[in-house]
Amino acid sequence: MLELQNISYIVDDEGKDKDILKDVSLKLDDDKFFVITGPNGGGKSSLAKIIAGIYKPTSGKIIYDGTDITDMSITDRAKMGIGFAFQQPVRFKGLTVKDLLELAAGKEMKASACDYLSEVGLCAHDYINREINASLSGGELKRIEIAITIARGTKLTIFDEPEAGIDLWSFSNLIKVFEDLKKKTMGSIIIISHQERIINIADELILIANGEVVKQGTKEEIMPLFTGTSFKCKFK
């Protein structure tokens, strides 16, 4: 189980303190599918990066499976079974898709590297030896990032806006990827998303706005907080 206790995150904004997250407390049970949603700039991505260890909270504690991981490095958290798919995947000159897939899957690679690519709708033959460099489009990079993250098979996996940069044609496939993940009960999954179809497959939703948790609950409890089809938050 992942527990966030009174997490605050303050950054320097031209000499002034800016609150990105204010006293956020959450409990996320094992083997559930969570979607964190809410308006842009509300603190969702910062929260995800704090869980992965990329950002360090100004105050508060993160407890994972009973261990206080607040001061642990990104590496140690990764080794404990936390996976993170970046919203904007990183490019590497010289490293190939295969290099990162093999690193992610580790020695006990359950499926072949090609299977992970097929899962995200990429023809393995065309991509496996490609460099993860500027020759790949944003959408291709994004799908490779998701494949790499799935290949890790971690107990807690965070996807930061996986739909961003994915074309409409591929979007249905992406939903299927997450539906399959859910069926396989691959540990807990946290997805930061604005997409209704992703929200629809969540066990629980967490609505974050202005750096605060507005509400954590089921879709039926959270969705009425949005008006119409837009994601305008009543609490803003």
């Binding site: 992965a52 990329i54 490095s73 990104i74 590496t75 990764a78 080794k79 996976g83 993170f84 970046f86 995947p89 990183v90 590497f92 000159k93 010289g94 490293l95 190939t96 290099d99 990162l100 690193l103 992610a104 580790g106 790499i148 890790r152």
Partner: protein, 305 residues
């Protein structure tokens, strides 16, 4: 050949046994083995140290290995190797120099390679430099490559210097005729107090001629590097040079790319990017379970792969 020499051969040429095809092995300033073939003839120069390699017209899918190894300390030599490649050939030439210096004196090998590539021939030239040794003697390699490309010919030159060379100045001069292409790809990693300099001058003389000069390098510790390139477009041609360098610790890299268009139809581009490893690359690999040091290592190895 002793164990040290065998190891040097494996490092620079990937050779664990006598190669197939033509070869000439030079060890400590002397010939240590040679084989000519039906289409490739290797002869000793009479006027200065070195060899002439004559490759007959229409020789295809053949290779020549000409490794040089030095395991004696204090040996300094300049060697002239000239390649005369006929028309319509498709050959691979594997050169390289490995030095093991366990003494206190400087060991230096300066290889001057001249290529005369015949019309419509295709040549892949691979050169690897490697130094090792537990002494304080300096290891110096100053290769010079002179390339004359006839009409329609193609030469691809891959050079690698990853380890152990204290000082190197690489000079490459080329002239490229009609519809001929020269591709140069170099990979360098320096560490300690090493210094590496590369200087490429390419004259695109022919109509439709082209070149692509790509340098990827990593400078670690207190090492220094300088990349110079000058592409002169003297006809309707296309030229591109790219210097991409990672600096670590106190490493320093300078890049002086120059392009000179002497014809209105010349199209020339140069790019240079020098910087430390992007923080987000390290973070990504750490999120896959590597430590910061392991992440750096993987990024550097991939960059120079």
């Amino acid at each position: 050949m002793d164990k040290i020499q065998e190891n040097l051969l494996a490092e620079i040429a990937g050779l664990h046994e006598i190669p197939t095809g033509a070869y000439n092995i030079r060890a400590n300033g002397e010939g240590a083995g040679r084989r000519s073939t039906e289409h490739i003839e290797i002869t000793t120069k009479q006027d200065k140290p070195g060899i002439d390699i004559h490759i007959a017209d229409n020789t295809v899918r053949e290779s020549v290995h000409i490794p040089v190894i030095i395991s004696e300390t204090g040996l300094t030599e300049s060697v002239y190797n000239d390649f005369f490649i006929g028309k319509n050939c498709d050959v691979t030439i594997i050169a390289g120099c490995g030095i093991h210096n366990c003494g206190t004196q400087k060991s230096e090998h300066d290889g001057i390679h001249t290529f005369f590539v015949g019309e419509n021939s295709k040549v892949r030239y691979v050169e690897k430099h490697y130094g090792e040794g537990d002494g304080n003697g300096e290891i110096v390699l100053n290769p010079q490559t002179i390339v004359h490309l006839a009409a329609g010919s193609y030469l691809e030159m891959d050079t690698v210097q990853i380890k152990g060379v204290d000082s190197t100045i690489r000079t490459t001069v080329a002239d490229v005729a009609d519809n001929a292409t020269l591709i140069i790809s170099e990979k360098i990693m320096t560490h300690g107090k090493q210094h590496a300099e590369t200087d490429f001058t390419v004259d695109l003389n022919g109509e439709g001629s082209s070149t692509n000069v790509i340098s990827r390098s990593v400078a670690r510790d207190d090492s220094t590097q300088l990349f110079k390139s000058n592409i002169r477009g003297n006809n309707k041609c296309a030229g591109h040079s790219e210097c991409d360098a990672i600096i670590m610790d106190n490493g320093q890299v300078g890049a002086v790319p120059k392009v000179e268009a002497n014809c209105v139809d010349a199209s020339l581009i140069h790019e240079a990017a020098i910087g430390k490893i992007a923080g987000e690359q390290i973070i990504k690999l750490m999120s896959l379970g590597l430590t910061e040091e392991e992440a750096e290592e993987m990024i550097v190895n991939g960059f120079l792969k």
